[in-house]
Symmetry: C2
């Protein structure tokens, strides 16, 4: 059935069907009507295609400028992390779902990973991304230069997340942290909290900055006092720190990562501080599946939906339905009341024991 050696190309089909290569191309790109190719010819060509098992050559198509139905996915961290309680997997679920719906295939750019494990689009010498019609990029590492270069080359891509410096150059989808933090602060105010603390990671990244900015903004707008944000490693979030919160009349703590949430839970337990009885806690990131995160109040980034929207936006971009300045915010699920409770009335100074 299949000729040995070479794979079939359009000219093979053309010969078999007794037409020119041009005609085959016209039929395959769905412009048969406007070029008045009769049904009989179309049928002959389609039969030949089936007989030879023809599949368009993706490289040739993209070289010429056409579509090849490939959507790239490039993450600045490993796609399938070995620490498999995997943050990215959920994005990929969404990306794959949407790809299936749109009938395109996904290219996971593994070759963009250097020997040292870092990932770079241009690092490997060639911009492999060009093999695909466009790409979805994600990752928290700061590679603004690459993004800028990619955009300046006119390569169509969508970013999941936001980069202040270059975000105007490309469409992106991003969780609506501003609304989320407004909801959190409102929620805390509504149940009666009077003073909030914010504990961030020592390592900073863009989403974390967004959350902190939003927190500061809404705490101010809602006129709820806060302590100065602290940036701690989990080890530093110890009993002393918890004691200080209590001393400072802090009744609720926002922590930026699940590692900090674990540390705070442990420290509070050691210090005999009940959560949420004496101290409410909200986690601003979700942990791995294996942790019982439902036991903490936390905001939930719609990772699956972000993946889906990113693919949808990319297709829109390719079809010219949107431009590079199209940005989308996706709602973030507000926290449950697991570790948010009405604070106890502050003890009077008379009952307070000073060490």
């Amino acid at each position: 059935m299949a000729k040995e050696g070479r794979t079939a190309r359009q000219s093979d089909i053309a010969r078999l069907a007794g037409v020119s290569q041009t005609t085959v191309s016209i039929i395959l790109t769905g412009r048969a009507r406007e070029n008045s190719i009769p049904q009989s010819t179309q049928d002959r060509v389609m039969a030949a295609i089936r007989e030879l098992g023809y599949v368009p050559n993706a490289a040739a198509r993209s070289l010429r400028g056409g579509r090849n139905g490939l959507i790239g996915v490039h993450t600045y961290e490993a796609v399938f992390p070995v620490t498999s309680e995997d943050y990215y997997n959920e994005f990929l679920v969404g990306i794959e779902e949407k790809a299936v719906e749109m009938g395109v295939d996904l290219v996971l750019f593994a070759s963009t990973q250097g020997a040292d494990g870092t990932r770079s689009i241009y690092g490997s010498g060639a911009n492999r991304l060009r093999l695909a019609d466009g790409a979805v990029l994600l990752g928290v590492e700061r590679n603004d230069d690459e993004l800028e270069r990619l955009a300046s080359e006119g390569y169509p891509f969508v970013f999941i997340g936001r980069r202040d410096t270059v975000s105007s150059l490309m469409p992106y989808v991003v969780p609506d942290y501003d609304s989320a933090l407004r909801d959190v602060v409102t929620q805390l105010k509504d149940v009666g909290h009077g003073k909030l603390a914010y504990v961030g990671n020592r390592m900073r990244n863009n989403p974390q900055e967004d959350r902190l900015t939003a927190f500061t903004r809404h705490a101010e707008l809602l006129e709820i006092p806060t302590t100065t944000p602290q940036f701690l490693s989990p080890a530093d979030l110890d009993t002393d720190r918890v004691a200080q919160f209590i001393k400072d009349d802090v009744t609720a703590v926002l922590v930026e990562s699940w590692e900090l949430a674990v540390a705070l839970s442990d420290a509070a337990a050691s210090a005999g501080i009940a959560i949420p009885g004496s101290l409410s806690m909200v986690c601003l990131d979700i942990g791995p599946r294996s942790l019982a995160v439902d036991n903490w109040s936390h905001i939930q980034v719609p990772r699956r939906e972000l993946g889906r929207r990113a693919v949808a936006l990319l297709m829109d971009l390719l079809d010219g339905r949107i431009t590079n300045d199209h940005h989308e915010l996706l709602p973030v699920t507000p926290p449950s009341f697991a570790t948010i409770a009405r604070p106890r009335p502050a003890p009077t100074s008379a009952t307070r024991i000073d060490g």
Copy 2:
């Protein structure tokens, strides 16, 4: 730095460096020595490359060169299952790892999924896999016809797993269930077990058949009696069934899936039968990560390694280092002694109470 619009190509560099495009290509493909291009010319060209921010066009390269550095991955079930306690993820970890090492990219064939959720290579008319240089296929669904067709078309692919009817047509990697079951049966015999039961799923698939065959074979070779294999849904593995095992002097049960292991644990607990005190249990499949599978004796399929080897074999196949009849067995980790124990001496008939 980057010119607006078009990206630089070799002829741009050539013009800037005052040489021909051929020379640029020669230098870039590292054949400067053998073509006696002096260092001075190389330097000029490299400078021009840097100045223009040139990056080779991957599409043009693969069009010219044949290979495009894409490795397809096709699973007969969703690649990123929504039920994310994901069996396939571990294979993909291995596949991606190896792809990174080999410097190739992965194509996840999402477009091969039909509207009904089933996946078929030829479903869309054309064999989309041809887009990649070769592919790794996995999945337990029985699509032998497709595999056969694919092989007959000369498409290079490697299967993870084994299909009796068509396995001679392609290279595959497969867990060494025969050795694994030999080890299990030996292990059970060595600690003193006298009679084994085998409980399989009602839904049969190829790996399960392989395990059962191996079990039967080795039980016979080692002259250890067994009950007739039973194929049950987890719900049917109830206290009655457990009571029957005891009545039949069965001291160890091999279950084919973690669902059955859960059912057996529960049923035994309800029936007051201690595991492994009164009944040893070995699970022949591993469950999702979230389950504490380490609490059961189970054999462990080296899924990551299977993924890695599959990619390695595919590259070997593409480079002509192996042929279609190359098959590899990968060792399966034998069970721990978590739920394997020396059986209690069988009660004498005098002490047995008949209902």
